[in-house]
Amino acid sequence: MKSAYNYQWVYNLAVVKETKRWAKHNYITDEQFVKINEGYKVPFYHPNLIIRILLFVATLLALSGVTGLFFLFVADAGSVGISTMCIGYGIGSFIILEKIFIGKNHYKSGVTEAILYHACGFTIGGIAGLSDFDNTQLLLIACLVVFSFSAIRYLDLITSLAAIASFAALLFYNCFEAGGVFKQIIPFVFMLSFSATYFITKKLQRKDDLNVWSNNLLLVEAISLVLIYVSGNYLVVRELSVNLMDLELIEGADIPFAFLFYFLTVFIPLLFLYVGIKNKDMVLLRVSLLVVALSVFTFKYYFIPGNTELIMIAAGAILIGIAIALMHYLKSIRNGFTRENLLSEKWQNLNAEAFIISQTMGGNQSVNQSGGEIGGGGDSGGGGASTRF
């Protein structure tokens, strides 16, 4: 499937956004940034985050009025009629989104998201309504299909997340319904499936023609890692076994394979951390920090009842200690890691720059900090299609 957005413009926008960060750090001069802006025209309407939220809220409110009128019209159609019309309305919304808004160069403008989620909701709700809301399998499949479609076609991250969640739910539901041994091996099914998802995602990220989905793939990558960990986490497995599978635990008894899950709760975060550091993989590294915290919580929950405040103090002190120690340790570059802020805020860039120069060019380049006069506020917005098309 193709994205609804013009690839070249999405790419140009990525270039402009990326080089803006470089300019902020004075890796390139403002004149260069203006020149790059001219070379990479972005005809999209893609406002800043706050305006996007504002537009999103306003559009949702406006749509609520449309929805109200819609239900006034279809109120007498009977439940099948209403469900069918909901699906029609949902699909109609997709078409309007595409023809009117994306056709007018809206790109993730807040309006597009509002209409997109609205369309997803109606389509899925209509499908669920057709089966009187009691066919879970159908509902989950509908979610998976509609959310995946939205994620792929409109490059949307929230529906990407929803698609993964639907996939996980579908997997769980089917193993659960199959019963017997399948119910027992749900954690392993999850670990295997999402390990596979992780490695496939890693592979897809290297393909240039899938570039336009790089953010979606990044999200899938991170969520897969979290799910791999969660499905082996002792607390999750135990609580789900007790609550969903009617496992009766008498005093002192433990879940089946308890030791395996204890082991995984300790091992997976360490594995993530180790590989993350070794490969300088920031996704792994960040996820590992998160899941280390979850593991600490797990063991605290079962082995150290009470004393929450002491644990908090200890954990806080340890975190502060580690962070300060690392800040000292990474004063100079170690294994390619640095404490300096390489790409974003301005106030550190002098240090960072001097530092990178010394690293990469053996200090044989002169430091040319032109500072850069502000060259006539270039404007990336501007209407009109780029000459490439």
């Binding site: 080089t19 890796y27 406006a62 920031m282 920090l289 806080g316 002190a317 990474l330």
Partner: protein, 320 residues
Amino acid sequence: MTRKIPHELFEKGLITEAQFQKIETITSGRVVSVFYELRTMLYLGVMLFTTGAGILIYQNIGDIGHIVSLGLLTALMILCFGFAIKHEVKYSNDRVQSPIPYYDYVLLLGSLLFISIQGYIQFQYGAFDDHLGLNTLVTAFFFFYLAYRFDHLGVLSLAITAFASFWSLTISPQKWYSGEFFSGSHLHVTAIIFSVLLSGVAVVLNRRQIKKHFTFTYLNFCMFIFFAGSVAGLFVDEHLYLVYVLLIYAGCYFAWVVAKQRKSFLFLLYAFLAGYIATTYLLAQTVFEAAPTLWFYYSILSCGGFVYFIIRYKNFFKQA
């Protein structure tokens, strides 16, 4: 998507070779920054530590250990402030760069410990029983001093919060949720006056070029309190609703002016929500009583119109 950008720009001659080398080192991931990770860890550490200390103090009240823990925490607090003073940078009206990467967090830790310890003394010895208000005020001004002296936005927020609570205004979502925010008789009036006066001070400081980067934090608090107060007033003082509607419109105008000058649009978001509630309330009191189906047309037209307006004047809403 961004992987090949440096190479492409270099090939097109848009960046020089030296720049390419420098940027490529970062984008290829040969050098990676853990700047944000370390900062997040520090921040979480400080939060966990002070929250834990706060609970510890309350739970052990009356124990023999409380003097010890209090002593230790006080010592730690003094250590933090000592560290801040030892590595201090000269005061300036502009933004000041922290001398050490974790400097800001040490100061934050000291300030949060200050609150814990003071709360404890208050509780245990009733030390400030008769001067509860005064005590909060002193805390507020101490934090204002710290915030300006050491240029710390976090401590500034603490100061504003403490200052607001001196006027019995609680700036905490949980409290609002349980309906305690405006439980008092005329707290929403206090809220409105407080926010107007404080934003007045903020604007004056901004004009005088004193810590201009603080202005946003001030205004953010003020706008929030102002709109929350006015919207609450709308429902509390029903017979005076017209006054509150007008107040909210005035607030919206102010938000508009700020957005225009500073090119920052967060306040417009508040203004839109409050303004929408006010307008809807006004219409509900007047027009809609007669014709309920007008609601749907109203939400379509008003919000649709608003969306159209923003898109039509998109250049106005562009960030600097």
